[in-house]
Symmetry: C2
Subunit: 263 residues, 2 copies
Amino acid sequence: MLMITVIKIGGNIVDDPEALDRFLDQLILVPGPKVLVHGGGKLATKLAADLGIESKMIDGRRVTDEAMLKIVTMTYAGWVNKTIVAKLQQRNANALGLTGADGNLLAAKKRSHVPVDFGFAGDPSPENVNAVFLESLLENKILPVIAPLTHDGKGQLLNTNADTIASLISSALSRREPVRLIFGFEKQGVLHDVLKPDSLLESLLETKMKELISSGKINAGMLPKIHAGFSAKRNGVNTVLIGHAGYVNEILNGTKACTRLEL
Amino acid sequence: MLMITVIKIGGNIVDDPEALDRFLDQLILVPGPKVLVHGGGKLATKLAADLGIESKMIDGRRVTDEAMLKIVTMTYAGWVNKTIVAKLQQRNANALGLTGADGNLLAAKKRSHVPVDFGFAGDPSPENVNAVFLESLLENKILPVIAPLTHDGKGQLLNTNADTIASLISSALSRREPVRLIFGFEKQGVLHDVLKPDSLLESLLETKMKELISSGKINAGMLPKIHAGFSAKRNGVNTVLIGHAGYVNEILNGTKACTRLEL
């Protein structure tokens, strides 16, 4: 198979119809087999608020009680996922929406209640990825669109971080095929100094990352992407990039700058 | 391929966790390739009410404006579909949730605004069914679980009747393979007199149906199933049954009574 491209987009793209359309216009230009993983965006928080349900966060991670699981499943797997699938079909890309439960794509263990109870949160492992199923879809020219939910195999859906899913899926596929992973968001990449927009790091070594983190120069929202990205790199993914979602095709063909993670 | 069984369940099963579990326990006993089509249940109406959005119905059909389309997509394709998929995975059935947009399974035309504007409602045709895709899933031992939504190929999701979807899919598959279609609900079948529970019609001829309808002896809620069922029968589906969802396997192996539609 040709090199597989795994693309993750986050909430800021999903929440902004113009940014989403622009991203999808770029996505379909990317050659070869592709997998899209999307985050949830603020729709779940908004729907919860509209229903008078409080969104609880601990250290930037959502606490998923029963009511919230229903809300994230409705928004992530329902509205966000199907909106993207319909928009890709409009662009003649044969998209297929999935959660980890569909086709048993990605099972996970419910996160331990100790020390913090995050509720129905799932932590998947690389061996839980159903790479055979994913490859069979890609061989049939299907573009899998993955919502950030997994299941425990015992009938329970679990809320799961989209960066983690993108990293694990890339890692599992890379055991069989060459894979590149790109985290698309609303900025150019990782900045040397978050206060200086022109300080793009075109290459980020893992040692440098640790230095930037300890000096507080990396935006907290960037950390999950960076950790997931280096994890994918260590697991054999050929290329890991962080860049602007509105230019993914140009980034991948080398005509637009971004941040490349290096071990 | 072995005979394909298409099973449709409606809102009363989807809304009742015990009835749903009982149905799923029976479903996995049905031998051979299977396709499940589910209705939406009352969750969409309840969610709309909780959000202060009015549910408009004309002649028992939902009017789907923009806000309601979001709600039905969240509930049908999100919560209901993924709950069923996770519960089937728990039972070692390799379920995969789909809308008509996923894999371009089922495109539809937005219903005309004249004489009544039903909003984002889709009317699919038999030639819109992607039977090749569906068969490739069945050949890979996947159990497709279909939510009652289609798309127009131009990026628009459309609310679509689940009985219609089950009928069209059965009809399309029957051009290639033998197919049986069963509508599972909370009763034994079609009654000769809706007021007499012991008046089950084990066989229902199309002529008899017209007689029962004109004399008002058929429950209005039964009409979409009956019309969709006879349409499937006319389109070549081998067997069309209406029966209790909690006994689908026994109905299919002939040990439990139901109503069989006959031309």
